[in-house]
Amino acid sequence: MSAADRDLRPILLRGGRVIDPSQHIDRTASVLLTGGVVAEVGDRIVAPDDAIVLDCSGAIIAPGFIDVHCHLREPGREDVETIATGARAAAAGGFTAVCAMPNTEPVTDNQAAVGFIVRQAQRGGGARVYPIGAISVGQRGEALAEFGEMVGAGAVAVSDDGRPVVSAHLMRTALEYARTFNIPVVDHCEELTLARGGAMNEGLVSARLGLKGIPSEAEEIMVIRDILLARRTGGHVHIAHASTKGSVELIRWGKDRGIRVTAEVCPHHLSLTEDAVEGYNTNAKMNPPLRTSMDVAAMQEAVRDGTIDCICTDHAPHHYDEKEREFADAPNGIVGLETAFGVVTTSLVATGIIDYPTLIERMSCAPARIFGLQGGTLRARDVADVTVIDPDRRWIVDPSAFLSKGRNTPYAGRELQGAARYTVVGGRLIHRAAD
């Protein structure tokens, strides 16, 4: 316990529905946080005199959400997001921790760069930020980056996200080498010769709009390659932003055989189809692209049955001017930290596809387990990273109110159900929803 932590006032989260899938808890109770850790989950907790008491009636008290895939743009593009603004946006969205992808400028491919992100996050005071290091030096797909030194500096995984690991040999070596450090190798699955020049999903809409399509096979070919390499090497491959029915079937195939494959899906691939591109909406342009309703249904089912382990945002802020242009020239990506929970609640829980314990498992417990992070549980003496959510709160997405610098969302003006009421990181209240 550090000196700062000793100064922390206890927090009593009083009288909510406590859901902690890591301990199979789902009942009405209170949660006491003291000294930066969980003290107790119980019915008749007597709050210490100096405790901050937060009313949780009608709310769900859950282990804090963890986003294993976001882009915080610092260093390099501080004009579109910083670690501080991204971490505050995360907190507002109910995330107590996020993993920052290494496609920064310069690339986060060495211990000094990883250390910089850790320090910036400590100064930022929002959600925790865990750096993900690059797989290859400069993300150029040639030489392996120094996994060991990056892990020593605080990296929790490696990825060349934003681009795929083109060389199967490099992917194989990465999976083998990562075993020493017991970290997942996160791959952005895209077969570039098939996908190159593509601006959206290949299908009826791309044919009509005259936009070059990206076939689902461009993703699936790399998914199965990675699964086969994980089988060969015994390494842990984590499939980033899976988006197609075929990918789900391949991941299921791998899991059935005991291969170390895990996977994530983004809220937009659980809620939107390629139809959102209609009218050349650049805020519906991302990579992988929005797919068909058949794919969305398969992704939803995979979240339900656990084939997809976690839900991540792929939060990708871009400048307004970069998106305000011809569709083919606009960059890929949308922001997601502040809408993720609402989108998932609206499209999966309110529709009866999953329940809250499953949502919390996919957004908190599984991310912590897969990436070896603290949190993801309300066990006594574990870190006090807690999210209190209002499951029934309805709100209209207003990008101008985002704490993120990014405004690029396809959900602007949409009504969502579900929002974070309180976000607590290390026993400290870092977000409180406006009434």
């Binding site: 290949e202 299908g203 009826l204 791309s206 044919a207 009509r208 709009l209 005259g210 936009l211 070059k212 399509g213 076939p215 009218g279 050349y280 001017d321 305000e324 242009r325 011809e326 569709f327 083919a328 020239d329």
Partner: protein
């Protein structure tokens, strides 16, 4: 200004059969203007039109310019090579600057699909799409329809096959929508590598062999084969393309009926079309060019708020 077509003409996909019919009917009286000694009527006098061409174009730009001038509009041509991005100024800034000079209409040709709509949503002036990327080229679709109607008198029930590189063709997309809306049966024929995946879902028949297409169709609309398609690996060579998909007199002679031959130009003689077909008795390729001016006059007139029932009168000098 808002007329019977709405503010803009961006594509044929959103138009109704009645709107297409209206444009074609309005084009009829305008045809005659181009046949006069003094090819000018005052219908658009005082209107300022900018022809904003981000891609090289000869015939479409000239056709629009003749249409505008024959309606007495004041026109300015802005040609810009490359995309707006490489130019440094964004498309929307270019448009807003033009609009600040108080213009009435913009005719835009751009390499990016959706560029015309992008512009139309951001400026008050009427926007006419003169070809956006691989999306649509609505006035080409309309002039093709007019040419077919001239020949067949009625469009419904006719069979038209679009041949060649449908994947990269804005002409093909506008034709598919326009023809289907007017009750024409539509087919496409070309190597599968140059047809959009799932094209059948647009309600067209697909022929893998040109011989089968010729046997089926009343008219062929033969698309230009771009040289870049070979280097990009879509097809092996122009020579083989001509062997397998080229429209030749020999192939046409085996057809059960005479086929009307159309081509949006510019032609690659000896590649997608042989010279004796292009210059043959059933070719209406030059009629398409002539009709292009009339159709564009009709579109300009209607978007400017001209009343269709007065189109015939509008052509008369005051």
């Amino acid at each position: 200004m808002k007329g019977t077509l709405g503010k803009d003409l961006l594509a044929l996909e959103p138009l109704t059969a009645q709107q297409i019919q209206l444009i074609l009917d309005t084009a009829e009286p305008f045809k005659e203007i181009s046949e006069r000694a003094i090819k000018k009527v005052p219908a658009l006098r005082g209107q300022t039109i900018v022809n904003l061409f981000f891609e090289a174009s000869t015939r479409t730009r000239i056709s629009f310019e003749f249409a505008e001038k024959r309606l007495s509009a004041d026109t300015v041509n802005v040609a810009s090579s490359g995309s707006s991005v490489s130019k440094g100024e964004t498309l929307v800034d270019t448009a807003r600057n033009l609009e600040a000079m108080r213009i009435d209409m913009v005719v835009i040709r751009h390499g990016a699909s959706g560029a015309a709509q992008f512009l139309a949503e951001r400026i008050e002036s009427n926007v006419i799409n003169a070809g956006d990327g691989t999306h649509e080229h609505p006035t080409q679709g309309l002039l093709d329809l007019l040419t077919l109607r001239d020949h067949f008198k009625t469009l419904a029930g006719r069979r038209v096959c679009i041949c060649g590189d449908v994947l990269h063709s804005r002409v093909a997309r506008s034709n598919i929508w326009g023809l289907r809306k007017m009750g024409v049966e539509v087919a496409v024929c070309g190597p599968r590598s140059l047809l959009p995946h799932g094209i059948e879902q647009l309600g067209v028949i697909v022929f893998d062999r040109i011989e089968a297409a010729i046997e089926w169709a009343d008219a062929l609309n033969i698309l230009r084969l771009q040289v870049e398609r070979m280097t990009a690996g879509y097809i092996p060579s122009a020579r083989e393309y001509n062997r397998v998909f080229g429209v030749s007199r020999e192939r046409l002679e085996r057809a059960p009926r005479d086929l009307l031959i159309m081509h949006p130009g510019p032609m690659n003689r000896g590649v997608e079309i042989d010279s004796d077909v292009a210059d043959g008795p059933h070719s209406v390729i030059l009629n398409q060019v002539t009709n292009g001016v009339a159709v564009r006059m009709a579109v300009l007139y209607l978007l400017a708020g001209g009343r269709p029932e007065l189109a015939a009168a509008a052509k008369g000098d005051r």
